[in-house]
Structures are given as C-alpha cells and as structure tokens.
C-alpha cells in the first residue's frame, strides 16, 4: 500500500500556529483497512481507522492523543512510526518527507523515532537479558564498539533505575514497573528526538505509574525529547501533556492547550470525555459541566453522515446531520471540529476571524 499524497501538505503558512521548525508535521494522515468481501464479487468493505488528521509537534513538546479505545489513537502512533503504512497524507520529520523514504532509509531514521509500549512484558524478548536488549538498538545502528555499547546500555539502565545486577536479568525476572523501565531504556539509549508512548503506564499498578511518568518527564527534560503520548487516562494526560488532541472515530475533534482544554472543553465530545473525570475542574474550581452522550460509538465500518457524533450529541441540528464539520480555529487558539462550538450553552470562547484546517 503506497502512501498517497493528498495535497494537504502545503506550506506551513496555511496552518497558523505551526512553527516552521516543528519536529514532526503530519498532514491529512489517513489509514483505511480493507476487510474481506462478504459476498462473492461484492466490494471489499473499508474501515477508516484514521481519517484526515493533521498536527505539528515541536522538539521537547508533549502532545497527547486521547479518546476511547477503538477511536484510532494507537493507529496514529503506528502510522507515525511507519509500523503501518498510511493510506494517505504526509508525514514530515525533521524536515524530511518520510512518505518518500524507502525501507533502508526508514531503518536509519528509526534511531530518532522510538516507541514505548503499553504491554512491557510482551515488548521484551523473553529469551534475552535486559542489557543485551538495550544494547541491541546501538548494535543495529552500528554505534561505537561492542564494549562501548555495553557501557552505554549500562549507563542508560542506571539512569532508569535498573543498575547493577538487575540489568543482567531476563524479563520474566523483573516486576512490571522494572520491565517498563527496561522498555524505556531500550527506546532512549538511541537518543531519539521523538518517542511515541502508547499507553505507557496503563498496564502498571497505580503506585508504580507515578514513578514511571516522573521518569519519562525527567528524561524529557534531560534529553529534550518530544513525546506523542497516546492514552485514555485523562488525569495522567493532564499531568504530562503540553497540548491535547481529542479523537473520536478516527478524527481529531478538538486540539487545545492542555490547561485550556481541561478548563473548558469546547467540543461536545471533549466535554463528555472530560466531564466524566472526577478530578477535572477548571482553574476557578468550577466543575466542567457534565454532558452525557446517548448510546455507544457507531461502528467505524458504517460511520454516520455529517458529524460523526450527531446521533449521540444533544445539540445536533440538521446541519450536523448533513455536513461534516472541519477542524477550525477559535479565538483562544484551540481548534474544534463542531459547527456550533461558540453557540453551545456554556461556551467560553467566541469565533476566530480566520478559519483554519487544523493545528493549534
């Protein structure tokens, strides 16, 4: 499946707020999965897991992608890392168009683009010791000599708190938190510029979660890492993110500064999502007005016409049922994909003068 450029890339000037020096520029990214036919000669059903997503990520910044399971947020991470090939759109990393990169170029670039998994237990090869696995990335990229690599791996493991004897253990001999530290060490020993963290602490005990999150933040400060932080855990996201993108059924519905979003989510879906978190209070101590959505998310195989949220949204109008709202920029800088974002009861921001496609 080759990546088709949709022509949405354009010059950065089309996207107010995006800096020319953004580390990662994603434009119009889409991923469709083709499923087997159900009849002999019928069309193959398609499923749009990710649909026309654009965002920028600066060096040292953390962008969180939140949403319910199945909304396509993990797919975004896999697409950015080219673990899946995009169906459309473009990804520029460090000024290089990665859609044009071949396999060999990708293997080189992987040094700068790393991944931290949710399930740290399965993320480690059960047959190799931890230090061996941490050194492997260096080995793959031909960094230094074997002895230096071992020293670098040991230093990295030390930095994540797995010094000495722990480094020479096999994965099953470590606790869940220690395993996740090993996974982090393996990703970071290559000194990447961008790390995709896919639910990095979801599998851990609550007590261990905080330690690992703090470790991630310390490492970000020390190495100047950018994180694409994928999570369903909003209290965690609030703690780590600079900006947050809310995803529903394969599309971004709101992209905003973390604090602004949690204070006053503009999109009805973001309101429902954030209103459900007990700790979500605005700066003035006022609770975000809770919003209940009816029913279940529709099947991505058969999305509703117009706004994907319209069957569940209490504010839906005929416009919402016929036209799909584009992501547009509001006065306070956030982007929202809702026709009525400013007019909704309790809206905190007015319209911006110029419409924007995406990106804060």
């Amino acid at each position: 499946m080759s990546a088709v450029r949709l022509g949405l890339g354009g010059p950065a000037i089309d996207h107010p707020g995006s800096t020319a020096a953004a580390l990662l520029q994603v434009r119009g990214l889409s991923k469709r999965f083709t499923l087997p036919r159900d009849t002999l000669f019928g069309p193959r059903p398609e499923l749009a897991a990710v649909d026309d997503i654009s965002f920028d990520l600066a060096a040292g910044e953390t962008l969180a992608v939140v949403g319910e399971s199945g909304c396509g947020k993990s797919t975004v991470g896999n697409l950015v890392l080219n673990l899946l090939s995009p169906s459309g759109g473009s990804i520029r990393f460090d000024g290089e168009d990665l859609a044009a990169a071949d396999d060999a170029r990708w293997r080189e670039r992987r040094r700068d683009l790393q991944l931290i998994f949710q399930d740290s237990r399965s993320a480690l090869d059960p047959r190799l010791t931890i230090d061996c696995q941490v050194a492997e990335g260096l080995e793959i990229h031909g960094v230094a000599t074997a002895a230096d690599r071992a020293a670098m791996a040991a230093a990295m493991l030390e930095a994540v708190g797995l010094g000495g004897d722990l480094a020479r253990r096999y994965p099953h001999e470590l606790s869940g938190g220690q395993q996740q530290r090993a996974v982090i060490a393996r990703a970071l020993v290559l000194e990447p510029k961008l790390v995709v963290c896919d639910e990095p602490v979801a599998a851990l005990d609550v007590s261990v979660q905080a330690q690992v999150v703090n470790l991630l933040r310390d490492l970000q400060r020390n190495f100047g890492l950018a994180y694409l932080f994928i999570s369903h855990d909003l209290s965690l996201v609030r703690h780590v993110a600079d900006r947050v993108a809310v995803m529903y059924l394969g599309r971004f519905v709101e992209v905003a500064e973390c604090e602004a979003l949690f204070a006053a989510p503009a999109h009805p879906y973001a309101r429902a999502l954030i209103g459900a978190v007990p700790a979500a209070r605005s700066r003035h101590g006022r609770r975000v007005p809770p919003l209940r959505l009816e029913g279940e998310p529709p099947s991505p195989l058969n999305p509703p016409s117009g706004c994907a949220l319209n069957p569940r949204c209490p504010f839906a109008t005929d416009l919402c049922r016929s036209d799909r709202p584009a992501l547009r920029r509001l006065a306070d800088g956030r982007s929202v994909a809702c026709h009525h974002a400013e007019a909704l009861p309790g809206a905190v921001v007015g319209p911006d003068i110029q419409p924007a496609r995406a990106v804060s």
């Binding site: 087997p36 036919r37 009849t39 002999l40």
Partner: protein, 312 residues
C-alpha cells in the same frame, strides 16, 4: 454455507489438478527426449524421428503443452510400451481391485476406530483408553510392509489358515485389509477420542448431565454428533496416507491393483502408465478434499471464507 466459500474451494481444487498435470509435463520434459523414455531402447533412429513428428515433439514447447493438456483432459496418456495398449485402459482394469481393497479397509477402519475412540474418551484413563492409545501408536509406528510380512509368516506359513498372497476369495482379502486398516483405524480412534474429549467437556454436556439424561443418551445423542464433524475431516485427510499404504500393501500381498501396476511401471520406467496413475491419484485426492471441505462448510457454518483452518 456461502457460495463464495464453495467457489474458492472449487477453484483451488482445479488449480491443484492443473498443477499436477503441469508438474508431470515439466518433469517429463526435464528428463530430455521423451522418445528415449517412452519408446523401447531397441528402436531405430527413423522410428524415433517418426514418433517425434507424430507426437509433435518438433513443435514449440507451448504447443506441445497445449496438445499434452488436451490429451490429458481426454484421459489419453499414451501407449504403454510394455503392453502396447493405451495406458488408461490398463489402469482402468486395475481400479476395481484397488477399490475393493480400499473400501473394505475403509469400512473396517471406521467400524473399529470410531467406537474405540468414543469408548476411550468416555472411559478416559481406563484400560480401554490405554489399549486404544497403544493401538494408535502401534499403527502409526508399524510400517505396513513389515506388518504384512509378520502376518504372512504367522497365518500363511506357520498356521496355514490363509493364502499368503494373490486375489480371488475373501480369504485373500483378510491380511491386506488388516494390514492397511491398522494404521488408519489407529489414526481415526486417536482423533475421535480427542474430538469427543473436547465435546464432553463443554457446557451443554454438563447441562445434559444435570438434566438427568442417561450416560448412553448423552454420549450418542449429544456428544457424538458434535464430535463427528472433525472426525469426518480426518477421515478425508487420511486418504492420502491410505493410498500410499495401498501401494506398499498390494506389493506385499501380490494384490493385482493400481499400486502394484505403479511400482512395476516405475521399475520398468513405463512412463505413460505412471503419468496416468499420478493424475488419477490427484483427481481422487482433490475430489475427496473438496468433498470434505464442502461437507465441513455445510456442517459448520462458522467456517470462514479463505480460512486455512485445517491443520494436520
């Protein structure tokens, strides 16, 4: 069962047959000049040249392939150089005898294997179970040529109750059928046992037990019909092993079937006959697999399109 599933299976079956026919053509051409292979050694060069023209060997390869393929579709595999008769006729003469052996084996193996497997599952870990599993391992490990020879030694040469070889009366059938059925029955018993064990452990069996259905009733009315689906499959897939076994067994007991014709033709390099038999076996196997696949799709609606669910 949906049409797409059936259509894909049919297409695959045709493809397999085409591959076999093409394989025979390619291997035959690989060996060099077919007149060397198909004509006796003592014919002169002018006769060879005549046949080369007659068989179209001077034509381009694709045209030869077309002719060969068309002839194969008509069942024409050439003339046997030993008997100077069309290969297909010689093969057809032998088919009923092999069928006789095969059908008798099939019924014996099923009649023995299925009850043994069911009983072994019902009385798990009892002596019946151990006996059945030992029998299965024995059947799997015993080469049928050796079993046949042991039988001949015991019943024909020492006890003198059965004829050692040949064809004709029911006594002639006893030892070949026993030889061939042993491995087959063992495999069926083993598979039936594990299918039954799986079914017996399911919830609806516990429900039937709780409802007070008698043990016999539970096994025959509830468990067995459910275990039958995988058992049908393994019977279909064992056919290949049985055909191979038949070739050896027919040789041990001098049974005048297709298998014996095949080995003597291989030894004499009577290639027309070998070709014909290979294609015949392929047709048999492909039809049997197709029937099993279709039966499976029909019995079990969960079978998904294009799935390679079968494991061996």
């Amino acid at each position: 069962m949906n049409l797409r599933y059936a259509a894909i299976k049919l297409l695959r079956a045709m493809l397999t047959l085409w591959l076999v026919v093409t394989f025979v053509f390619v291997v035959l051409r690989l060996t060099g000049d077919p007149t060397q292979q198909l004509l006796p050694d003592d014919v002169g060069p002018e006769i060879r040249a005549y046949y080369r023209t007659a068989w179209g060997l001077d034509r381009p390869l694709w045209e030869q392939y077309g002719r060969y393929f068309e002839a194969a579709l008509r069942g024409d595999f050439g003339i046997s150089f030993r008997n100077k008769q069309p290969a297909i006729d010689l093969i057809w003469q032998r088919v009923p005898k092999t069928l006789e052996l095969g059908l008798a084996t099939f019924f014996c193996a099923v009649a023995l294997g299925i009850p043994l497997g069911v009983l072994a599952a019902v009385w798990r870990d009892s002596w019946v179970d151990r006996l059945t599993m030992s029998f299965a391992v024995f059947g799997f490990s015993m080469p049928n040529f050796f079993l046949g020879i042991l039988l001949i030694l015991l019943f024909a040469l020492n006890l003198r109750v059965l004829p050692s070889s040949g064809y004709g009366t029911w006594q002639h059938m006893v030892m070949p059928v026993f030889t061939l059925a042993t491995a087959f029955a063992g495999a069926i018993a083993r598979f039936t046992r594990s299918a039954m064990l799986e079914v017996l452990s399911r919830d609806y069996m516990r429900t039937a037990e709780a409802e007070g259905a008698s043990r016999l009733r539970r096994v025959w009315l509830h468990a067995f019909p459910n275990a039958a689906i995988p058992v049908v499959t393994i019977i279909g897939f064992s056919l290949g092993g049985m055909i191979g076994g038949a070739v050896v067994t027919e040789n041990v007991f001098a049974w005048p079937g297709v298998g014996r014709l095949l080995t003597s033709s291989v030894a004499d390099r009577d290639l027309s006959i070998v070709q014909g038999i290979v294609v015949l076996v392929a047709i048999t196997m492909v039809s049997a697999n197709l029937l099993v696949d279709l039966a499976y799709g029909w019995l079990d609606p969960r079978v998904r399109v294009g799935g390679r669910e079968r494991s061996r």
